[in-house]
Amino acid sequence: MKALQVIKYGDIKDALAFNEVSLPTIEANDVLIEVKAAAINPIDKGIILGNLQALLPLPLPCTSAYDVSGIVVEKGNEVSHFEVGDMVYSRVPQEQMGTLAEFVAVTSVAVSKKPGNISFEEAAGIPLAGLTAMQSLEASGLKKNDRVLIHAGSGGVGSLAIQYAKAQGAYVYTTTSTSNLAWVKELGADRVIDYKTEDYKTIAKDVDIVFDTLGQNHSLEAFEVVKQGGIVTSVVGPLDEATAKMFGMTDYKLPEELAKASRDKGAEYKFIFMHPNGSHLNEMKTMIEDEKIKPIIDKVYTFSESIEAFTHLASGRAKGKIIVKMC
């Protein structure tokens, strides 16, 4: 079968190649999915550039991408919740990475039936970003009437996080640039802050939760806007100590500035490492079918245009998800 593979780390055009690879084999708990659409995410770009080699050492060549929607064409002996012919979507686990291919084998616990009211292309854009948004806000203890600041409302994660938080009854502040104000407002955010003309720190004050999707100075600044006893959840900032331990970094300490800000505010800092989860995707399926969450697509590329899709991702100008369709 054809697959888009990372053949070496570095510049996108040199690092990627279309290769003929063997069909994946399935284990007892796996399903084999005929890929109809895949989505690409910033982590895929990070892998290609070699920025994640320490955290995710991958033998090259390896097939790229984690998000998929498609049709189950084969299932393992112990798979009971899916049948051949089911339309599904998934964020595949690290060890099964490789959705930019004609087929991908996925453990069935990471798979859900896809929402029936959206296309394969729309569904492919949901798993990684949707699970990140959902698991981060759940881990933050988000509840009705909470005031939450979500950074980068026009991003893949931010746009889904806004909708998820609104569905839970929260009051949502979000930041974005001038050109994105209108459509981000349409996602349901209560106060869209134009970071080019406004200082979000003077608008979103004493919020219950800051969801940091930008990192760098935003992780620390979050403690200026979070309320006493609130929570700062990040998916891109420094690891927290519990997550670092999970990766075997037993001596790891939270950067002192961040630790002090957290202590001074009595506010917790959490790093969220998204985990593949079919049940969570099934919950999201219901929310999508009930129109509480709508997928936002920036552009759809054909499989043969996949490398261009990565170049577009690298430009950082995407408004919503970048999708690759297989046919």
């Binding site: 049948e83 012919g85 089911d86 029936g116 394969f120 079918e289 009930d290 129109e291």
Partner: protein, 180 residues
């Protein structure tokens, strides 16, 4: 319909009562179809999935309706439809070929089947004509008359796709109806 005891006995012999859970799939697109189902309680839906992966509802089956993929049964093709259970339901399952054979043994059954078929054709023709000439709001009104209790079993996108409109349009129609 009055049936002779032998006919009743034959019907029992070729049928099976089934209780279905919400979400259970009776026929899956792409499979061979041999069964047809008579609904005695609950609600089922048949739908096709287009090449983009979106569902389009063909039919809702409530009490006293039949449901299957009749295209597949009568053309010996693989199923183009999926039939799923929308709420806890009870059906009587028949093997379609065996049920077909009942006419030669018990002619009184033929008029019953013909009547069913006529009712089905009328319903399909009305559905096509309504789709051609009525507004979405009018089609929704008729839908509610045809299936008065169905909204407690269905999701909005099931109804929207049955009416051939978007979920946004359905929400707008409902909001306008609520204002009146």
């Amino acid at each position: 319909m009055h049936l002779r005891p032998e006919a009743e006995e034959f019907l029992y012999s070729i049928s099976k009562e089934k209780t279905l859970h919400k979400g259970e799939v009776l026929i899956r697109q792409g499979q061979v179809v041999k069964k047809t189902f008579f609904v005695t309680a609950g609600c089922l839906r048949s739908y096709c999935i287009d090449k983009n992966g979106k569902e389009h509802t063909l039919l809702f089956a409530i009490k006293d309706w039949w449901i299957s993929d009749y295209i597949a049964i009568h053309t010996d093709e693989l199923a183009t439809l999926t039939v799923e259970c929308l709420s806890e339901s009870k059906v009587i399952e028949f093997n379609a070929k065996e049920l077909d054979g009942i006419h030669t043994r018990f002619p009184e059954f033929e008029s019953y089947q013909r009547h069913n078929l006529e009712r089905h054709v009328v319903s399909l023709h009305k559905r096509i004509l309504n789709q051609l000439q009525l507004s979405a709001a009018e089609r929704y009104d008729l839908f509610l008359k045809q299936y008065p209790d169905i909204e407690r079993h269905t999701r909005n996108y099931h109804i929207a796709s049955f009416l051939g409109i978007t979920q946004e349009s359905l929400s707008r129609i409902r909001a306008e109806k609520a204002k009146k």
